[in-house]
């Protein structure tokens, strides 16, 4: 028969078995400070929790031992990546333009763009870039100044363009199966309204349509003041004639600390 009273002399050391303690009877107040060590934590503390199936938010917290003292730390302090994806466009059918109205914000000063699998729908079309202002795909920049070196297998073309309608970074592309263009672009200070501060570079490769062969272009642009439209909030890639398809991803570069 179970005893309901404590015998004279008290309970013998180590005599209380697990079965004698009711489920959930031990409250947080009854656990000594600093008493929960690694041997008392099971892996299910992690595996049994709900999964966060996404990149943590900057303010999500992680537990860390700071020289022996447990502290919480925001994920933002652990994220060492300096390129943050801000926008992407991906289409495998030709469109009038691949465009970003407002990918440039005050969060980042400079941007990195990767473009893959660009293909013009019209054989011989160039691939052009221009900026948008006022968060609108309809507001196009003008007066583009740029310099480029375009290398073909057996020759080089190098020149400057002033006040051009677009920034032409690939010339006379070949359309059709298996002909894609790829490259990268840096955009510096797109929101600046100071003459000449917005600038950038483009490195691209593609296929020329007239048998001249593969082409590689290194291009640098510097945006002039053009009325009130020099704070550029986005950009677009387009074909000089007809449509274009491809993948473009824009990354904000974390500002220097």
């Amino acid at each position: 028969m179970s005893k309901t009273t404590i015998p004279a002399g008290g309970i013998t050391d180590s005599a209380v078995t697990t079965a004698k303690i009711n489920a959930d009877a031990v409250t947080a107040a009854k656990i000594a400070d600093d008493a929960i060590s690694e041997e008392h934590i099971d892996a299910t503390a992690i595996t049994g929790s709900t999964e966060l199936a996404a990149t943590p938010a900057d303010t999500d917290e992680i537990l860390i031992s700071d020289a022996g003292t447990l502290k919480r730390i925001d994920f933002s302090h652990l994220d060492a990546s300096k390129f943050k994806q801000v926008a992407t466009v991906s289409v495998t059918s030709a469109q009038g333009a691949l465009t970003f109205a407002s990918c440039f914000t005050s969060t980042y000063q400079n941007y990195f763009v990767i473009f893959n699998n660009l293909k013009v729908a019209t054989n011989g079309a160039d691939v052009n870039m221009l900026f948008h202002y006022g968060d609108s795909n309809g507001n196009d920049s003008s007066n583009h100044n740029y310099s480029f070196i375009r290398r073909y297998p057996s020759s080089t073309d190098a020149t400057n363009e002033n006040n051009a309608n677009d920034i032409k970074f690939l010339q006379a592309q070949k359309s059709g199966a298996g002909h894609f263009a790829h490259g990268t672009m840096y955009v510096f200070n797109p929101l600046s309204t100071t003459d000449g501060v917005t600038s950038g570079t483009i490195l691209s490769q593609g296929n020329t349509n007239d048998g001249t062969g593969a082409q590689m272009t290194v291009l640098a642009f510097n945006m002039p003041e053009a009325g009130s439209n020099s704070a550029y909030t986005g950009f677009q890639f387009s074909a000089s004639t007809g449509n274009i398809q491809g993948d473009i991803t824009v990354y904000g570069i974390v500002n220097p600390s």
């Binding site: 009038g96 333009a97 079309a125 309809g138 007239d210």
Partner: protein, 107 residues
């Protein structure tokens, strides 16, 4: 209406976007002849540069090369219409240029 690809998806162009698109098509069409002439001049430049070394004092430039180079130099003045430009820029199925002027003579 032409469609446009944005981070939010594919949609029809706004009136302003369509106007910009149409202006781009018109600029391309309007510049057709000048673009072809520029292409001819670039192809000419490639070929002249490829044979420039023959003008060195220690090399004798063959007469057939001199004649070819002069023909190349005269291309713009002897070809002034877009139709003539098209003939010069006509391509074979393998994308190579069809017109014989672009092939360096061997004798």
């Amino acid at each position: 209406m032409t469609t446009i690809a944005t981070p939010e998806g594919i949609r029809e162009m706004t009136a302003q976007e369509q106007a910009n698109y149409d202006a781009r098509q018109k600029r391309w069409a309007d510049a057709s002849a000048s673009r072809k002439l520029a292409r001819i001049k670039f192809l000419r430049k490639e070929r002249l540069e490829a044979t420039d070394y023959m003008a060195n004092s220690d090399v004798t430039m063959p007469d057939y090369i001199k004649t070819w180079r002069q023909t190349l130099r005269d291309l713009p003045q002897n070809n002034t219409t877009e139709s003539q430009y098209d003939t010069l820029l006509e391509q074979n199925a393998d994308d190579s240029l069809k017109h014989s002027i672009w092939t360096q003579p061997t004798e």
